[in-house]
């Protein structure tokens, strides 16, 4: 199939504005006469606010108003359940809202003429605290879950309850039972057990939380902010203010990165509250706020830390027979999206494999840590680290090549997921594995078995010989000198993840297309609410509109992300926007084109795309059809390990991603490279540190993300295209997939290099060095 615009590297429609600095991000918007808002954060992980005295702050120079819990009409919010107060303190409409459960809970808001005045007055608010015991270890918070595989022991006492609605502090759980896991283990030739720990990760987007709120010309409480779902923000604001949604308007200007960290509310409700309460006092002025980096880091959720107990059994030929997994995720102080993140870990903790007997139990637990939240991969990176590390160990135990053992078990169109249903068609898992393996120099022998390139890794280092077909560059440099402390290793891992909202949610996305002109269509305008967080979605929808209508790409305009102008297009998450927006805009453009042919001027097409239905999982067996589409990935890491310092250098990183159809290959490459770098930071460098719920790494001088010099010397972004049966032009989502198996691939490569297993990361120099010393 050949297309006019689909599959081309159309230039990003936001490029010129961003490169020239014309584009405004939320913090750049400065309406005349605006006030500034500063937020008082709890700064303590668990405490009761006994009393708040705001008198000194209110009397401070420039201060216009101070707001506390008593000023919030409906003092609760939350994406999945409303378990978090907007402002913590006494006098709230909500019982129990006088308690802070993590350092980033918000206590008061100061509005002043300048930012300096607002921040200074914040420090004058006197809060009388009653500190409460702090619990940061999920297994201590929910002792019933402690102690490895097996059923919970409900007789163990809970130290104290963090939320009134959960007596056991377990905020959510899933259970999968497929086949008979004990039978499966009886049939195995080898069993590998492991306990894995995955770390917290900070989103570290360029743009800290910021926004401007005002009453618009229609009197609506309007918030211009960076988020991931305009209409959800609108609903959350309306709920907390106790006003109809129609009286709230949310607009997204340019967004400086999101990665899931903007799914939950940050400044949306507080800005709206300030403007609305001020208006009630006759002060109708815009209000702006910008969080500092330190506030951003404690104020938004993080990637869930998880502990994963797991046991895998396989036959001598490498066929998996049984897998048992127990996951304990640190949900932190509030639910955020823990239930959904956990659902995804539940599906991915057994890897992209066809396994006859499966028992999976997963739990998210409330603690006094910064909440676990959405973050690119959404529970998948954690699940895959355990699953793919297990596969690497199984391959070694069975003497099988890591690619070969994977292909012997891989999910195909025919196989059943652990939830007992097939994947909706077009499973590109095999294709991505082969693409990545070939690029790294894997070859097939006479019997068709895949063989890793030789000359690398512990077992064959020093032999000096290497495959001539290998794609690994510069072989001479890889032959270690006897004195050299550098060891090289190659690691392989693969993964899969759902696209779109799921588990019974009816996925939907709104778009409208308007065509203008006389004889010929001169211009197409797309109205779409989905957020372009920097990933390039608005360019994708312009390409789709151009393709359908035949209007040149340059003459497609995009009007986006304003709740007053369009319906809900859903969230910029779950790798869903290409898929959902593509189908929505395609539908709207086709209707507009039909209207055009019917002589309508302007010709308007409005369309809500409904994705194929999914189901909830059965609570006892976990059986069901949770998702309507998936994406697939396979990765190879070539690492050099300095055995004296423990430093790891990823010399080459290969990521093969099945994207169904690359609507814009350049953007796909950008997503693969960006995800890989972010995932390598997670795997090797980024070390979140907290003590008793207090964050020690709240700056970029203490929480380090990769610099350009830490990026692999060579990155291969390989685009695989196995069409999705329902995706627009066959496209499937892909933004998260290149994140999924990276940590496992690196850990496998490090093992290949130095013979030390790491079941916990980040693989900082010190951790690797300690691992090497522990070995002998």
């Amino acid at each position: 199939m050949t297309y006019q615009t689909i599959g081309t590297d159309a230039p990003r429609i936001d490029a010129a504005g961003k490169v020239t600095g014309k584009t405004l991000y939320p913090g750049d918007i400065t309406p005349p006469d605006m006030l500034h808002l500063a937020t008082l954060f709890a700064g303590r992980p668990h405490a009761r606010v006994v009393r708040i005295d705001t008198a000194a702050a209110e009397a401070a120079p420039g201060v216009v108003a101070v707001f506390t819990a008593a000023d919030v009409p409906v003092n609760e919010y939350g994406l999945q359940i409303k378990d978090q107060p907007v402002l913590c303190g006494p006098g709230s409409t909500l019982a129990g809202a006088d308690r802070v459960r993590f350092v980033g809970d918000q206590v008061a808001l100061v509005v002043a003429e300048t930012e300096v005045q607002a921040r200074a007055a914040c420090k004058l608010i006197r809060v009388e605290w009653e500190d409460l015991p702090v619990i940061t270890d999920p297994e201590a918070a929910a002792p019933s879950l402690a102690g490895g595989l097996g059923d919970p022991d409900p007789t163990r006492p809970v130290p104290f309850q963090l939320h009134p609605h959960r007596a056991d502090n377990v905020c959510y759980g899933y259970r999968i039972r497929k086949g008979e896991v004990e039978t499966g283990f009886r049939e195995t030739d080898v069993i590998i057990e492991g306990v894995y720990r995955t770390p917290v990760q900070e989103h570290a987007y360029l743009q800290p939380e910021a926004g401007v709120a005002y009453l618009d010309e229609a009197g609506r409480v309007t918030v211009e902010v960076a988020g991931q779902w305009t209409h959800e923000d609108q609903g959350q604001i309306a709920h907390a203010l106790g006003i109809p949604k129609e009286q709230v308007r949310v607009i997204y200007p340019a967004i400086g990165g999101a990665f899931g960290g903007r799914e939950d509310m940050s400044v949306q409700i507080t800005l709206a509250l300030a403007v609305w309460r001020l208006a009630q006092r006759g002060i109708v002025r815009p209000v702006k706020t910008i969080w500092s980096r330190e506030e951003s880091i404690i104020g938004h959720g993080k990637r869930h830390a998880m502990k994963i107990y797991t046991r895998w059994g396989a036959k001598r030929n490498g066929k998996l027979t049984a897998v048992e997994v127990k996951v304990i995720a640190d949900g932190g102080a509030y639910m955020y999206t823990s239930n959904k993140v956990l659902g995804n870990t539940t599906l991915t903790c057994t890897g992209p494999y066809d396994i006859p007997h499966v028992a999976v139990d997963t739990y998210a637990v409330y603690t006094n840590n910064v909440p676990g939240a959405a973050f690119r991969g959404f529970g998948g990176p954690q699940g895959h680290f355990a699953a793919e590390s297990q596969m690497d160990k199984l391959a070694e135990a069975l003497g099988l090549d890591p690619v070969e053992i994977r292909l012997r078990n891989i999910l195909t169109d025919e196989s059943l997921l652990t939830v007992g249903t097939p994947i909706p068609g077009g499973v590109g898992m095999t294709e991505t594995i082969i693409a990545a393996a070939k690029a790294a120099g894997w070859t097939q022998d006479e019997a068709g078995q895949w063989r890793k390139p030789v000359g690398l890794g512990t077992r064959d280092q020093g032999s000096g010989g290497r495959s001539q077909e290998s794609g690994i560059p510069n072989p001479q440099s890889l032959v270690p000198s006897p004195q050299s402390p550098i060891r090289h290793g190659l690691g392989f891992a693969a993964g899969f993840k759902n696209v779109g909202f799921s588990f019974g949610y009816q996925e939907n996305s709104y778009a409208r297309v308007e065509l203008r002109g006389a004889g010929e269509i001169a211009e197409a305008t797309v109205y779409f609410a989905g957020a372009d967080c920097g990933q390039g979605n608005h360019t994708i929808i312009a390409q789709v509109a151009a393709e359908v209508t035949g209007v040149p790409f340059e003459r497609v305009k995009v009007v986006a992300s304003d709740t007053s102008l369009m319906g809900s297009s859903g969230s910029a998450s779950a790798s869903r926007l290409t898929y959902m927006s593509g189908n929505a805009v395609k539908g709207a453009a086709e209707k507009a084109l039909a209207a055009w042919q019917n002589e309508d001027r302007p010709a308007v097409g409005e369309y809500i795309y409904l994705a194929p239905k999914t189901t909830k999982l059965d609570p006892e067996t976990g059986q069901g059809q949770p998702n309507f589409a998936y994406g697939y990935v396979a990765q190879v890491a070539l690492v050099a390990v300095d055995t004296e310092t423990g430093q790891i250098k990823v010399e080459r990183f290969i990521s093969a991603d099945d994207v169904g159809q690359a609507i814009n290959p350049q953007q796909v490459t950008g997503q693969i490279e960006g995800a890989a770098v972010q995932a390598l930071g997670y795997a090797i460098q980024e070390e979140w540190k907290a003590r008793e719920g207090r964050v020690l790494t709240d700056k970029f001088s203490t929480y380090l993300i990769p610099t350009i010099l830490d990026v692999p010397d060579q990155m291969d972004a390989l685009i695989v295209e196995v069409p999705d049966p329902n995706g627009p032009y066959g496209a499937r989502g892909m933004g998260e997939m290149p994140f999924l198996p990276a940590a496992a691939a690196v850990a496998a490569a490090v093992y290949d290099a130095i013979g030390v297993r790491f079941d916990e990361f980040p693989l900082t120099p010190e951790r690797v060095w300690r691992g090497l010393r522990g070995k002998g």
Partner: protein, 324 residues
């Protein structure tokens, strides 16, 4: 950030008077790369800053009549690292300057600021210790000279008195056949503050007997930068492979590291030994390449990385660390 006044002093005496009169509320200012971070974070709340880099000589590098190199305190890292006189005689210092933060920050950050912050992790300090640098200051009592090891008093504390500021770094004439290597470890390859740094420096004692003098200095493993005199003496006596290993161990023994957010004390001490050994080997290799000809500093590759490459570079509060 709280607003503050920016003052341009007309001469050294006025600068000193302003600083003295203001107590802690008037701060010296050069590159500002560390100052601005601290002011923005509210760690310091100055009423005003005195820009010292406008004073005569502060941004100059020159050779004095007695052969010493005089580096103005407000010379930037990039200026020092690229200066022909530095490259000709003091390559070790160029290596250290080039390792600080990023290129862009090195355009602002000054060698004087790096010293005046008195961070134990200051990257130029180990090199200056090896080179027997002398700090020249100006204060209410006029100018004075302080050996660099006495300039660093404790974490964040220099020998400067109220109203006194650093004007220049003096380096003695470079000995013939000298060779140096600076290595450090950070958590990223660009911009992180050093978790450990080691400078190694050696020169021919005289041309009659084949004897060398050594200097080894450490960063980020004590309350101030440190020398490792036992290791230096041991190397002068024995630079065989066993001697090198012994010296590396003595260097580690000289370290006084602590646990902090960047690394544990145990890791730091072990890395001192690794970086010291690699530095010594690099210096020996450099000397061997240069032979006994009068080609000082000729052979050491920039960064003096051991053949396998210590993954060096790194740091940011100092990127942040630069001028006071």
């Amino acid at each position: 950030m709280q607003p503050f006044d920016y003052l341009i002093p007309k001469d050294h005496a006025e600068a000193s008077a302003l600083l003295a009169a203001g107590g802690g509320s008037v701060r010296p200012f050069m590159g500002g790369t560390d100052f601005l971070i601290r002011a923005r974070g509210g760690f310091i709340r100055p009423q005003s800053v005195v820009d010292l880099k406008v004073l005569p000589g502060m941004r100059e590098i020159r050779q004095s009549p007695d052969g010493w190199l005089v580096i103005g305190a407000a010379c930037t890292m990039n200026q020092v690292a690229a200066h022909p006189l530095v490259l000709a005689g003091y390559d070790l210092l160029a290596q250290a300057c080039n390792s600080v933060a990023s290129y862009q920050l090195r355009n602002r950050a000054t060698i004087g600021g790096n010293c005046c912050n008195a961070s134990p992790a200051a990257d130029t300090a180990p090199a200056l210790f090896c080179l027997d640098a002398v700090a020249e200051t100006y204060g209410p009592a006029g100018a004075r000279r302080i050996p660099i090891a006495d300039f660093f008093v404790g974490p964040g504390r220099s020998a400067l008195q109220l109203g006194e500021f650093l004007t220049a770094i003096h380096l003695p004439p470079a000995p013939t056949g000298a060779c140096g290597a600076f290595n450090k470890l950070g958590r990223t390859k660009l911009g992180d503050i050093s978790a450990v740094s080691v400078a190694v420096y050696a020169w021919e004692h005289d041309t009659e007997t084949p004897r060398r003098d050594w200097r080894i200095a450490l960063g980020a493993v004590g309350p101030t930068p440190l020398r490792a005199p036992e290791a230096e003496a041991a190397l002068a006596a024995d630079a065989s492979p066993q001697g090198v290993q012994r010296a590396a161990e003595l260097t580690a023994a000289a370290a006084r590291p602590i646990d902090d957010i960047r690394a544990s004390a145990a890791y730091r001490r072990a890395m001192v030994a690794v970086l010291a050994r690699r530095g010594i080997e690099a210096v020996l290799a450099g000397i061997a390449r240069a032979g006994l000809q009068a080609v000082p500093f000729g052979g050491v590759p920039a960064g003096s990385v051991s053949p396998t490459g210590v993954l060096r570079e790194g740091r940011p509060e100092q990127m942040i660390g630069g001028a006071a």
